[in-house]
Symmetry: C2
Subunit: 244 residues, 2 copies
Amino acid sequence: MTRDRTAALVVIGNEILSGKVVDTNSVFLAAQLHALGVSLRRIVVIPDETDVIADTIAAVMPAHDVVFTSGGVGPTHDDLTIAGLAQGLGRRVVHDQALLALLQRHFGEDVSGARLKMAEVVEGTELLADERMGFPTMQLENIFVLPGIPEIFREKVLSLRERLAVEPFFLRTIYSGAQESTLAEYLNRTLAEFPELLLGSYPKLNHPEYRVRITLESKDRAYLERAFSALLAMLPSDVVVRTE
Amino acid sequence: MTRDRTAALVVIGNEILSGKVVDTNSVFLAAQLHALGVSLRRIVVIPDETDVIADTIAAVMPAHDVVFTSGGVGPTHDDLTIAGLAQGLGRRVVHDQALLALLQRHFGEDVSGARLKMAEVVEGTELLADERMGFPTMQLENIFVLPGIPEIFREKVLSLRERLAVEPFFLRTIYSGAQESTLAEYLNRTLAEFPELLLGSYPKLNHPEYRVRITLESKDRAYLERAFSALLAMLPSDVVVRTE
């Protein structure tokens, strides 16, 4: 099996850490990346602080093939992602002429002070045209810098799909009425036989139909089907509610 | 102002990173900690892998006053939080006699194999009685080890509130019909005058009532009220929709 393409997501925002805003961007990106066959290895939520952003970026950037940031881009005092990226990479912040022209078209000539901040990029940033949204997407080395507003974040992720796709995972699911502690031995035996399998076990309280959802995944469809059949053959038939 | 009590949350689970399950524990804990006056400084979501859990714990534990883990405790192969904590702290995993007795009461004498795993703790773990749930909560130094199932996670957090409380934050909110780029200068001026203020600015697309929600917070109520009045006095009256 080829090595996975790995990803990390850095979510920047005090509003998430204080529980004032629900972070819906993480689950959206996670599901999209999974569907594209990219392994999201880490989500980190950090405050709007330049030093923390810089240190976090410096740590995750070399350890993953692709990094996404969510939030902290905009005109206000708490929009520190660009400053943090610059510090983390040891580069300067510059005004991008193409962004400046876009802002001037939008705001008229009154692009000064806080609005001027929206034209700031880290030196070496590439602007990716985005037909869906008009405003381009910033790519800095292996980092995609995305805004935190969920509607815009999602559009940006969708527009990046073709750049990111590798091979998808295939999925099989078994719903069981048995307790997780009863199933554990069968899962262990399956993994001993199929060590490359991604095997998940998710208990659900008070569900009318099942107690545990077991997921089997692989990028190799035949391998997945063999593992799925092996586990099903092993499980006592009265513990299986249904499969997908 | 006294130094904040800081916290980190480590969420352990492939199901979150693949987008199969929505992590609702983070926002619940974030809001609870904020209400208690504890500063949640970092949320990290990582896969079910012993080495990654160990490295993450070793990094966050000394940097925060309190650490919470969510998930990865249970009887199956992907429940690796205890093993990861042990490795991260350089300690052994042992069977706890009190947990073993509890499991025997629940399962009868048949506590072996995978079920025996549910009695495992890291050496030095303290078991906190939990009247709400019956099953005790594991505390290991400054780490609270919580299960990932949302209903149980929430009950555990609620039962820990008294141990965690410091002083709460006070909150004021301004809803504005102006664009964020128009407001930015006023926010900057407010922060220059009130550097200790926690000031947030959250644009909302397509909301019928407002465009930006501005939040002001402090543990010092008088300081908050002075900052709130100063900002309101500064803002053109036609940009304020309402305040809370």
